[in-house]
Structures are given as C-alpha cells and as structure tokens.
C-alpha cells in the first residue's frame, strides 16, 4: 500500500498547460495533474494486481489435480514435433512440447486442449480422449486457414476474419537485403502501393493503402509497432537546410528487418474502424519477433552484399552529341563561339568522360550481422537480438549508411498463474553520411568533356553546378530510436481478462550540414555556412483493455472494451552559422562569425479514445463483428474534438454448410465477407484551431506578434465510409486458394486550408472542413496454389493484383479556391496539367500544341489540359517458392501499370546537355515525320521556347508501367546429420538478389520508372547481390 503515496507527488517535468480557447482559463494545471494522478494510480493498480496474483497463483497450484501427459507428432511422417503450444481450455494456460514432442499439463477444471503449431492445422480435443490416447497427430496445413493473424487490439484467424487485411511474415522480409522494412511490402499485398522514392540506402518510401482519400490532409497509414503508434512523418521535414540526397528520412528506417515477425496491413472498415479517426488511410501493424514459435537457440547470420544502380541512364556518345550540337547551331542560324559553345570549341575533345560511371558507377559493398538468442523455460521466454548494418553508396565510399540496434522481448507466463507479462525494448541508432543537395543523378547529362576544374585550378562554373564541388557539401544525420512497451495481462477468471499496455517511443534526430562558399558558383555570392539541428519526437501511450470470451454451445461470444490515452511531443531547434575563416572549422558553431538563422519548434498532440468490439460466431460459420470507437484529438477545436467511428463486418463460411460440404467436394473452403463502416483522418498540423499570435521578428528592438490562426473550433475529422465485399475460396483440398475483394471508399468532410482573401488579414487560409468528396474504388485479387506438392518438392505460386480508381466526386466552390489549378471534379486527385502536344510540324520541325482558348498564343494556364495522372491504374506481384530437398528458392516479381512523365530535356537534341539516343529520331528536313523536334540550342530563337514547352506537355507522357524482378533468394540447408556432427543445430547458405531486372518502356528515357519522373531525378533503385550464412547453435 505504500505505493499509493507516490500518487500525490508532482512530476516536475510536465510543462504547464496552456488553455486553448477564448473562454477564460480555469485551473488547467489541476486538469493535467488529474491526468497524471490517473496514470500513476493506474500503474499502481497494475502493481497491486500483479502482486496479488502471485498469491492467487500459488493458491491455484495447490488445487491441481491430475496431470495429463501426451506426445505430438506430424501426421505426415510421424516425427515428433518440438515447440508445439498446448493450451488448456477454457483457462488458457499453456505448455510447450519438448524435443521428443512430449508435454505434461495439469488438468484442473479444464476440458479441452488446443494444440497449435505454425504450418499445421490447429486441433482442439477433449482431455478425456488424450488421457485415453496420448499420441496426437497434427495435419500439415497447406492453406494456413487457422494461422493466427493480428487485427486491431486482438487476433483472429484467416478463417474467421470478417475484415480485409494482408500480411507478410519474417519469411518474406528476412530474405531481402533491405534497410527499411517497408520496402519488403512492395507489390506483396493487394491494395497496398509502395513507391520507393529513392534508391539510396535509407531513402524515402511512400505507402498508399487503397488510394488517396484526402485532398489536402495527410494520407499516411497509421503505423503501430507492438501496439504502440509511431509517428511516421519524416524526421527532417520542413527544414530545407537538412534535406539531403536521400530526401525525407522515414522513422521506420530505425526498425531492423530481421526483428520483424510480421507486418499486417488492415484495409477495410471492419479492420480499421477500431482505430477510428486514424484508420481512414489504412493501418499497418508491425509485430516484432518474440520467440513464440521455436525453441531455445542462438542464431547468427552474416550477409554481405554488393550493390550497383539497377538502371544506368543512357546517353549518346560524344561524337553523336557534337553532331547534334552543330546541327542545332545550323538550325538556329547562329555561329557557335567559345562563349556559347565551349564544349565544341574550347574544352578538350579527347578522352570523353562517362558521367554515369563517374557519378554512380561504383559497386557499393554492404555487410549485415544479426545475432539472436531465444531462451525458454516453463514460465518465461525471452529473445535478444543484435544487429548491425553498414552500407556505402554507389557515389562514393565516404557516403554511407550505418545502423546498429538491439531488441529484447521478454514474456513471463508462470504456469497456472493468472498473470502474463510481455515486455519489448528496442534501441537503434543509424548514421547517414550524404550530400546536401537534392539531385546528383542529373549530372549524367553533362557534356562528355565538361571540365570539372578550370585552367586556374578552380571549379569550373560554365554551367551553374559542378558535380565535383557537390562533394564539399556535407549532410550528416544520425537518428536514435528507443521504444519500450509493457503488456500486463491478468486473467480474472476463465474467459475474462484484463490487460494494460504501457508504451513509449522516442526518436532523436541530429543533423548537420555544411555548404562551403567555394562549392557554389561565384555569382551566387554564397558564404560558408553550416547548419546544426536536432529534432526529437516522444510518444507515450496508456491502453487498458478488457477481453471477454464465452462459449455458449454452438455460439462463441467475444467482447473487448478498451481505452487509449496518447501524448506526442515534438521538439526541435536549428541554427545556421555563417562565415568561417576556414572550411576546416565548419563543423564548429563557435567558429562561425555570426548566426544568421535560428529556429525552434515545439508541438504537443494528445489523443484519447474508448473502443469496443463484439464478435459472435455461430456454428463456426456465421460471424458477426461489430466495432466502435470514440476518439478525441487535440488537433481539433473544442466544439469538434470527439468523433464516433464504427463498423459492422459479416462473414459466412458457406463451405461448411451441409449442402456444399457433401455435394461439392471441389470446394474445401469458401467464405463470403462484407463490411461497412466509418473511419477518420486527423493528419493536419497541430493547433490549427487556435486564435493565436506568433512571433513576427522585431520592431524597434521589441518583439512583434502577429495573428497566426483564425479561431475555428468547428473543424473536425475527415471521414471515410468504407464498403468492402470479398469472396475467399479454397479448392482441391486447399491446394488452390482464391481471394477476390471489391472496395468502395467515400471520403468527405475534407480537411483543407480554405483560402481567404488578403482582405481578411494575414492568414491566406484557414483550416476548415469542406464538403468535397473523394471516392476510391478497386478490385483486389489473390490466387495462390501448389503447382507441385510432393514430399520432396513443393512449388507454390501466388499472384496478386489490384485495380483501382480515384475520383474527386465533388468540390463545391472549387473555382473560388487555388485548388482549381490542381484538381478537377470528376478526375483523379493526381491529375497533371500541361499543353496538349499535337506533334512536330513536318515542315519546320517545331512542336505544336493545341491552342485551347484560340488566342494564337500558347500560354499557361489558359491552354493547359489534363494530360495524365500520377496514380497507378493497377499493380501487383507474383511470388514463386520452390522447396526441393535442402534447397529453397523464392522469387518475387513486382509489376505496376501507370502512366508517367519523362524528363523531355533528357532527349532533346542539340542542347548543352547530352540526350538519350531517342534524340536521333529528330526532325532534320521538311517531310520528316517524328515526335522529336529539330535540334536547337539558342534561347533567343523562336523554336527554342516551343521546344522547351514539350516538357510541360503531353509529349512527356509515356507508358510508365514496369515489371521488376524484386527479390530472389536461394538457400541451401545443410543436412541435419552433418550439421549435428559439427555441433550445430542448423547451418544454411543463401544467395539473394534484389531489383535484378526491370522491364519498361525505356526508349525515350532509361531512368528508373519508380524513383524518377518529369521533375525529380532521384537515384535509381539498387540492384543488390548478397551472400548469407546462417548458423543456429
């Protein structure tokens, strides 16, 4: 009881709360204090529960009666299986089989045993029958229908799931040499579009689940790692000084792919409504490995790989380039001179350089170590994992990415006790040394003889940038990630349990970048400058939950009730030091002559919810799932902070109906499911509703305060109504599985920054809900089956496809907003405007465009039309796994069907940039029919502008579909007998390849169709070849 004393104590580090609205502020300190008291009281109650149950546990043990003994074997080969979970029902106590497949469990008042092991059909048998026949045979489960899958705040099985979700497991993740675990999702789950933004290690990845539902608010899915939400917003967003070659830094880089057990993507209302206001964009549940399935062991793996750019941009050779250049001057009727054409007349003509090779031709080695230890006993198990990854880039050896991490999972589950405790702790730190610039790849189109250094030994600045000088621009980031969570479960009585999750995570990013004056062209008048910054994000979560389950004969009833309180804080600052006497001092802030920029930010976000779910199963074939959540978010005004969300999901396992079961043996499993519900989105900035003043610099050496926001306490959640129907079929005794689903998501109450006239003050816009409606519809299909299924050879093939459509259904008053320049009712949200390219005039060689307003001039915006859209039409993946004796083989191919815009300047002939060989199709004389214009290079000529406009026209639109060999892994497992004789449990050797081929329409531009487009020129994805050795002790 002495613990209670702590409740009254003040926690000194909580900031004073500031009230938010116009109303007079009343004792807000007490409010927060009350919250803290609650939180502390809560922890204490947990402790009390914990200690009290140690006693009840002992009591329970003394009640034990007979002991049941059994042995578990595989039905296929009769081998004993080690590590099988034997759960005693309905109490839920469990034991694990030993290496002889044996187990013993006290009977108490329980009646059934549930025997489960991954890859086998879960079996439930009466204790009586075990007592009579202790040998239990497990059938191999081909379809994995009873595989346990994670859903929001609980688990279900594939068979009984009423919602739509997809999952990948450690099997698919572990074989890929990747930095960010999200890369493993590429093409693997229908409805989930993963776009790699950049091929550099640690590069940004964007993920869209079932299309884009919001016009302006964020569209990131909600990430939940072991129950604790993670803020997925990029760590270095909003500060251009720290943007580097990698682009935005995803906090998910911090996770070690090797520690991930599974990733579940929840898509429909039934699965996501339990996450209420944050479920609209889908939910990604990441579960770390806990050592649940397996035995005590020590794994060690080392993987070494080599990476190179998967697609090297293609350009014409030096002689062809020069021919085009001279042709351009002839067309322009201009004589080249040393000022306008030094590439032809001044610079060295021998030894042309291969820029692609110079820039990114390096073969970048990488090395990765993983060690994990699993230790199990009757009442506890624990897993410790250490990992290290070091990878340099194709640009240079100095530019590298490094990550070290450790994860600890601990589960305390004392035999016959009512308490269970799970603890997860993760720490990782990554370091990234790169360059402070946006695009490096673009330099490959520099003239083959562009001199890096001029005759005086200085950087050559004939073009505004110099590739060599970029190496002086340093950008370094280092991110520390710390996460901890504790789940305490207390089984009050069989069927009723209480659990509480307490979790926190923290990312701390520190950034440095320096930009020496000499690395900039002299006309920029740059000074030496260094930027120093840091940003920390802290996230705390308390989540109590009660689960109840009851078996009423033919009907199973499950209910869950829970609550969440979450607080996130962001805190960051940065300064810029300018003017250094030497570039050697540029890493010091003290050595700067002055500070010319200083900034700090702080924001806090709080979130409060209650949620409940009721699930009814009747006869094992009718399932009703009802979920509800009430959410409150501090991002909204007082009047609209709370919102209600919920969903109804239904499933009918029709294959279990007698009429089918007996008459159609072809169908081994069939399920129809449907769901409808409402989810929300709150991805807007914090404090948008406040009437506040912010600092507006100085006036007369006094600080000045300017109004920042307009008071609007009315705006609230964006809502997405999701409808989903699906059919799941298993044929030929589950050898062939089919899964087809259709979804219809309608999003309204759009959160947009509603533009205000300047008349209304210094705002520009205010945050508001708007009646605009966005619809996403799509079809998702999966087909998988065993093409060969023999004892010594198994070949499984699975393919998934998603077709989707996005449409802005309505946007009342769009013409009055600046959104009219970007969106059009009836069109996709990702539309792109441009001139309508009609072709190249066969007489003049000059491109022609449609003059929409017929004023005789081609200009923006009057002559723009919708030329393409950015979102894909369909995407999917095809996976093949073959197991043959000790070999296993895993091939994954990803495909995307979309349009994209190429960088037209990449093939325009005659300019000072080297074009791709598509330029050879140029117009040369009257009568030529082609889509490449004449060569031109002189800005003042009439054709030059018209030719340049091609990049902003439909001429840039190409078929951007691609098919990519995403991953290939071959593994050989050494014979058990041999490995045992070496004193090892297991030994295997593997080879894996990543992004090893890409097929696409590359005749205009051979740039990576995924990472580069019309405007961005990011690094192509890397193709990686890796060798892996795994030892289990």
């Amino acid at each position: 009881m002495k613990n209670f004393k702590r409740a009254g104590r003040k926690l000194p580090y909580f900031k004073d709360n500031v009230a938010l609205s116009k109303c007079p502020i009343h004792n807000k300190k007490n409010v927060l204090k009350a919250g803290i008291v609650w939180a502390i009281a809560f922890v204490i109650i947990c402790c009390v529960l914990f200690s009290s149950l140690a006693i009840s546990g002992t009591v329970a043990q003394t009640q034990s009666s007979t002991v049941l003994v059994g042995v578990v074997r595989s039905a296929a080969d009769g081998q004993a299986i080690e590590g099988v979970t034997i759960q005693s029902l309905p109490s839920g106590r469990f034991v694990i089989t030993d290496k002889n497949g044996k187990f013993s469990i006290t009977r108490q008042s329980d009646k059934f045993l549930k025997i489960s092991y991954l890859g086998f059909v879960t079996k439930q048998i009466a204790m009586e029958s075990v007592a009579m026949n202790p040998a239990i045979m497990l059938e191999t489960d081909i379809g994995n229908l009873d595989e346990v899958i994670a859903i929001g705040y609980g688990t279900t099985t594939k068979r009984l799931n009423t919602g739509s979700s997809g999952r990948i497991t450690s099997q698919e993740i572990g074989s890929q040499p990747i930095v960010n675990v999200m890369e493993a999702l590429s093409g693997r789950i229908p409805g989930v579009y993963v776009k790699m933004e950049n091929g550099l290690p640690g590069g940004a990845i964007s993920i869209a689940v079932r299309g884009r539902s919001s016009i302006q608010a964020g569209t990131d899915p909600l990430y939940i790692i072991d129950g604790v939400p993670m803020d997925s917003s990029p760590l270095n967003a909003g500060n251009a000084d720290f943007q580097n070659l990698n682009g935005l830094i995803s906090p998910l880089n911090s996770l070690s792919p090797n520690d991930i057990e599974s990733i579940e993507v929840l898509k429909d209302a039934d699965a996501t409504a339990i996450y209420g206001s944050r479920g609209a964009n889908g939910v990604i549940l990441i579960t770390t490995k806990s050592g649940k399935d397996g035995v005590s062991k020590l794994d060690f793996a080392v993987r070494t790989g080599i990476s190179a750019v998967s697609l090297m941009p293609e350009v014409v050779d030096f002689d062809t380039y020069k021919t085009l250049r001279y042709e351009a001057y002839a067309n322009d009727k201009v004589e080249p001179n040393e000022t306008t054409a030094p590439d032809l007349l001044l610079w060295e003509q021998d030894n042309p350089r291969d820029w692609g090779d110079w820039l990114m031709g390096r073969k970048a080695p990488s090395i990765q170590y993983n060690a994990s230890l699993i230790e199990k006993s009757d009442h506890a198990r624990f897993r410790l994992s250490l990992s290290r990854l070091a990878e340099s880039t194709v640009i240079s050896a100095e530019q590298k990415y490094e990550k070290n991490g450790a994860t600890l999972n601990y589960e305390l589950n004392p035999k016959d006790s009512k308490v269970q405790l799970n603890v997860v702790g993760t720490y990782s730190k990554d370091k990234n040394n790169t360059m402070k610039m946006n695009s490096f790849v673009g330099f490959f189109s520099y003239a083959h003889n562009y001199p890096l250094i001029d005759e005086h030994g200085n950087y050559n600045w004939w073009l505004p940038n110099n590739p060599l000088s970029q190496f002086d621009k340093i950008a370094r980031t280092s991110n520390e990630y710390l996460a901890g969570s504790m789940v305490l479960t207390y089984r009050i009585f069989p069927g009723l349990q209480f659990k509480n999750l307490f979790g926190l995570n923290r990312t701390a990013l520190s950034m440095f970048s320096s930009d020496p004056a000499l690395s900039n062209r002299p006309s920029a008048n740059a000074e030496d400058q260094s930027n120093f910054g840091n940003n920390t994000a802290n996230n705390t979560l308390i989540e109590p939950q009660i689960d109840y389950a009851a078996d009423w004969g033919n009907t199973t009833f499950k209910a869950m009730l829970g609550g969440t309180w979450q607080m996130s804080e962001n805190d960051g600052s940065s300064v810029r030091g300018v003017g250094y006497s030497s570039t050697l001092m540029m890493e010091s802030l003290e050595a700067a002559q002055r500070i010319d920029y200083k900034y700090n930010n702080y924001s806090q976000y709080k979130y409060l919810s209650g949620y409940a779910r009721v699930n009814l199963q009747h006869l094992g074939r009718y399932v009703v799932n009802l979920s509800y959540r009430r959410d409150g978010s501090s991002r909204f005004g007082k009047a609209n902070r709370f919102g209600d969300f919920g969903a109804l999901g239904l499933a009918w396992i029709f294959s279990d109906e007698a009429f089918l079961k007996d008459n159609v043996p072809l169908i081994s499993y069939g399920k129809l499911r449907a769901s409808y519900g409402i989810t929300g989105n709150d991805q807007i900035g914090d404090y948008a509703y406040l009437t506040s003043y912010k600092s507006n610099n100085l006036y007369g050496n006094r600080s000045a305060l300017i109004p920042k926001n307009i008071y609007n306490d009315q705006f609230g959640w964006e809502t997405t109504r999701k409808t989903d129907i699906g059919l799941e079929l298993g044929l030929f005794k589950q050898r062939l599985l089919m899964n087809v689903g259709y979804f219809h998501h309608l999003s309204d109450n759009q959160l947009i920054a509603y533009p205000l006239p300047a008349l209304s003050g210094p705002f520009g816009s205010y945050q508001s809900n708007f009646g605009g409606k966005v619809r996403n519809t799509g079809l998702e299909a999966e087909l998988s089956g065993y093409i060969v299924n023999r004892d010594h050879i198994k070949w499984n093939s699975s393919i998934n496809m998603t077709w989707l459509k996005n449409k802005l259904l309505s946007f009342p008053g769009i013409e009055k907003t600046t959104y009219a320049n970007k969106y059009e009712v009836g069109q996709d949200l990702s539309i792109v405007y441009g001139y309508n390219f009609l072709g190249i005039n066969t007489n003049t060689g000059i491109p022609e465009y449609r003059d929409v307003n017929k004023d005789g001039v081609i200009n923006s915006p009057h002559d723009r039309v919708v030329i393409t859209k950015g979102s894909p039409d369909s995407y999917g993946g095809w996976r093949n796994t073959v197991e043959y004796k000790n070999f296993s083989f895993d091939l994954f191919i990803q495909f995307v069907e979309k349009e994209s815009r190429v960088y037209v300047f990449g093939y325009l002939p005659g300019r000072t940039t080297v074009p791709s060989s598509y330029a050879l199709k140029r117009w040369r004389q009257p009568g030529d029919i082609t889509d490449v214009p004449l060569a031109t290079t002189t800005v003042s000529t009439p054709q030059y502008k018209s030719v340049s406009d091609m990049n902003n026209s439909s001429a840039a639109v190409v078929n951007g579909s691609f098919l990519r060999g995403k991953s290939l892994a071959v593994q050989y497992r050494f014979e058990d007998a041999w490995t045992r004789s070496m004193g090892l449990k297991q030994l295997s050797l593997g080879v894996s390849a990543q992004n090893f081929f890409t097929l696409f329409d590359d005749k205009k531009s051979r740039r990576d169709p995924e990472t580069s487009d019309w405007s961005s020129r990011n690094m192509p994805l890397m193709k990686t070849l890796a060798l892996e050795l795994k030892v289990t002790l």
């Binding site: 004073d16 116009k22 501090s634 305060l705």
Partner: protein, 445 residues
C-alpha cells in the same frame, strides 16, 4: 467481490475517455494565445509593433509607383516593371499591387483585432494611459492604411471588425464612407494621443496624427482643417533645417514618423547600383530632372549619378547595413509646410502661402519667391515644390496628380498612351477569385 472491485476500478479508468481535459495541450513558446496577449501590457504592445512592421510599402512598392507616374523610368525588361512603366497593369501583375493590398489589409486586420481586444474588457489593461496610447496608435495606423487604399484603388471594402466570415465576402464601400472612417479614426486617435509625445519617431505621437489629418483634409479640400492641423505641427516642431545632408537619416529632427528597419537600410538598397559602372534600375525622368532649378541644393543630395550618367534616387544613401541607420519615413516636416502653403493659398492667404513656401526654398539654397508673384504662378510653384521635394515618397506624386485633376493631361503628355481608367489600380486577381462580392475596377479585366 475482489473481481467486482477490480472491474469497477477499470471501468472507472475507462471513463476518463470522455474527459476533454485530458486533451489539453501545451503550446510552443513562439505562439501565444490571443487572450493571453490582451491580458499582458507587454504582449499587446508587441502586437502593436507587428502592425508597424506590416506597413511595408517603401521598397516593395514606391519604386514602381515612380515608374507609373512621371518620376522614374527603367531600362529593365522585366515584364512587371514594363507594365508599371507603360501604365499597363493587369489584375495578375505580381509585384507591387498584391503585396501592398495584402500588407495594408493586414494592417487593418491587426488594428481591428487590437481594437477589439483592448475594448473587449477595459479592465484587463493595467492603466488607462496605456490603453489610450495603444488604441490611438492602432487607429492611426488603420486610418493610414485606408488612406493609401482609397487613393490607390478608389472604392475599397471597409472592414472595421476582425470577423473573417464577414470580411471575406465584403463589398466595396464608397470613397466617401472610407474617408468618413479615416476622419473618425483620426479624431479618436487624436483624442487618445493628445499631447502625448512618444519620445521616438518610430512610434505614432500626437504630431503624426495631426500630420495625417492635415494630409487627409488637404485631399478632401477642407482647407481650413488642413491649415490648422499643419499649422499646429509646424508650431510644435523645430524650424526647418538649413542643409539637407542628413534628411533621411534615422531620427532626423524634421522627421515626424518613420518605420524602424532592423538592418537600418531603406530604399538605398533598391536604387543605388552595387558599383559605379552599373546602370541603375530606376532612374529619374527628364521631366523630374528639369523641374529642379540649377542651384538647387537637392541636386546631388536627393538624386545623383554614377559613371553611367543616369540619375538615380539618392535620398536614402545606405545601400547596405552600416553605422548610419535609415528608416522608412512616412511623415516629415517639409510635407507639412507644403500642405500649409497650399491650404493658405486656397484660403486666399497668398502672402502666408508664399512665406511658408519660401522657407522651403531657402532650405535648399533657392532664392525666395518675390512678393509680386502672380497667384497662378505661386500655386504652380507650390505644386512644383511638392514634385521636387517629395518625389519617390509615400505615393505623393500619383495622389497629387489625381486630387488636382491633372493626371490625364500630365501622363498623356509624358507617356502618350494614358488611359484615364488607370488612375486607379486593378484589384489583384486573387482577391476577386476568392471574394465573389468584389468587382474589378473599370478598365481592367
């Protein structure tokens, strides 16, 4: 029983989800709740400082206004510059118009919000004196903003409350209504700031209010009011200087109100070429050059030339930050003398008008005008003096030509293709798109 206890405890815990207070968040230190601002004398004064900061027309607008009238010309081929030079503005013109419209209405919003915040609960501010001073300054700044708006755009929306729902759909008010508001604000400001010498020229004092009053009365042809207000200012201020070297330096005694600049650099950064061999972007028109008499001391001191031979404005002499500070001057004494002279003239007090004007002439080492000068000649001399003394400042030339009804004749004469509709500016396109009640000025589409 134990279970019951636990369960009820847990349900108690769960019930906290309905408690809104758990959602209260702390705010970043750089953001202050509006209510807090109005509870704190220092913070509310900071909010007033922001209004001064927002009145930013000198560098971003006056040079272009010089191109628009008969003051400056340019060789720059930048589309926007050419539009000003050729009096061919469009609603989409990006420089000048929109920033000035935006900054003036931002001044108005901030002044409205300040007025509401102060008057909402009078007891919140500790002293009546502070309340009066802050209100006085805010109302003065609002009057100044409306004065500029009405002279640049004609009829403009009249917004005196911070409610954006109303302001974002407001219609134009007639110029007369706007002027009524200006007069009202100035009268209130005068009563609030009466005999209040702020002790600094970067804040509004009583004399600044009187100066704007004088100017507004002059524009409204209230000659008596203009004479009285300007006379009051002249009486309270020291005599005009002899010597004009430091007229535009910060804190100069002739200055009545100027806007503080952090780097101490005003228009010098716009007009003065970075080196003597570069031709200036803005140079004086011959019409303006030739209006100066040869022995005028202002030659070389108000404008000068470099190696390229073009004369460029040189009132503000600091191109980059240095030990001498220059701020954006809004009101200075010579203008008040000119107002006084013109008002006297209109009141048929020719002799007084002549004597006042002569004080300005002797200040520039020009010979005084003789007693026998004709009335018409005297009036023209007053106007010429305004042209010479105030070029490039505060929109004076443009406004003078308009209020005297001379703009059509003069600009047709100087530029050749003048359209009388262009005496008012186009309303920025963005504003019309966003507010359907706002229409465009005649002549623009």
């Amino acid at each position: 029983m134990k279970y019951l206890l636990y369960t009820s405890l847990l349900f108690g815990l769960l019930s906290f989800y309905s408690c809104e207070k758990l959602l209260n968040v702390s705010q970043p230190a750089s953001m202050v709740d509006a209510n807090k601002v109005f509870e704190d004398n220092k913070l509310i004064e900071d909010a007033l400082m922001s209004i001064y900061r927002t009145v930013d027309i000198n560098n971003s607008f006056l040079p272009y206004l010089g191109l628009y009238t008969d003051e400056y010309s340019t060789n720059s081929q930048l589309v926007d510059y050419q539009q000003y030079l050729n009096n061919a503005l469009t609603p989409e013109t990006s420089i000048g118009i929109l920033p000035v419209w935006r900054s003036l209405y931002s001044v108005i919003y901030q002044a409205n919000a300040l007025e509401e915040g102060i008057t909402f609960d009078e007891k919140r501010l500790s002293t009546e004196a502070i309340r009066r001073q802050l209100l006085g300054e805010a109302l003065f700044l609002r009057a100044y903003a409306y004065f500029m708006l009405v002279n640049l755009w004609g009829d403009v929306p009249l917004i005196t409350a911070s409610d954006v729902n109303a302001s974002s759909v407001s219609k134009r008010a007639s110029q007369q209504l706007v002027y009524d508001q200006i007069n009202k604000d100035l009268a209130s400001a005068a009563s609030y700031l009466e005999n209040n010498d702020s002790g600094t020229k970067i804040r509004t004092g009583y004399l600044a209010v009187k100066s704007l009053m004088a100017r507004v009365f002059l524009y409204q042809q209230n000659w008596k009011g203009a004479k009285d207000a300007s006379g009051f200012v002249i009486e309270k201020m020291p005599n005009l200087s002899q010597g004009i070297d430091a007229v535009f330096q910060a804190g100069y005694f002739e200055t009545i109100l100027e806007l503080w600049k952090q780097n101490g650099v005003s228009q010098g950064s716009v007009y003065i070429p970075t080196n003597v061999t570069l031709s200036p972007t803005f140079f004086l028109r011959n019409e303006l050059l030739s209006s100066f008499e040869l022995d005028d001391e202002r030659i070389g001191k108000y404008f000068t030339r470099n190696n390229t031979g073009s004369y460029f404005p040189y009132k503000y002499k600091q191109r980059v930050s240095g030990s001498i500070k220059e701020y954006d001057i809004l009101f200075r004494l010579p203008e008040i003398y000119l107002i006084n002279a013109e008002a006297n003239f209109k009141l048929n007090k020719m002799e007084e008008a002549r004597l006042v004007l002569n004080q300005l002439r002797t200040r520039c080492k020009l010979s005084p005008l003789a007693v026998d000068i004709s009335d018409q000649h005297l009036f023209e001399e007053i106007l010429q003096e305004r042209y010479r003394e105030l070029f490039g400042e505060g929109g004076h030339r443009f406004f003078d030509l308009k209020r005297l009804g001379r703009i059509d004749e003069r600009l047709e004469d100087v530029k050749g293709n003048w359209n009388p509709d262009f005496a008012v500016f186009p309303v920025p396109m963005q504003e019309i798109i966003l507010n359907k009640n706002l229409d465009q000025n005649i002549g623009y589409y």
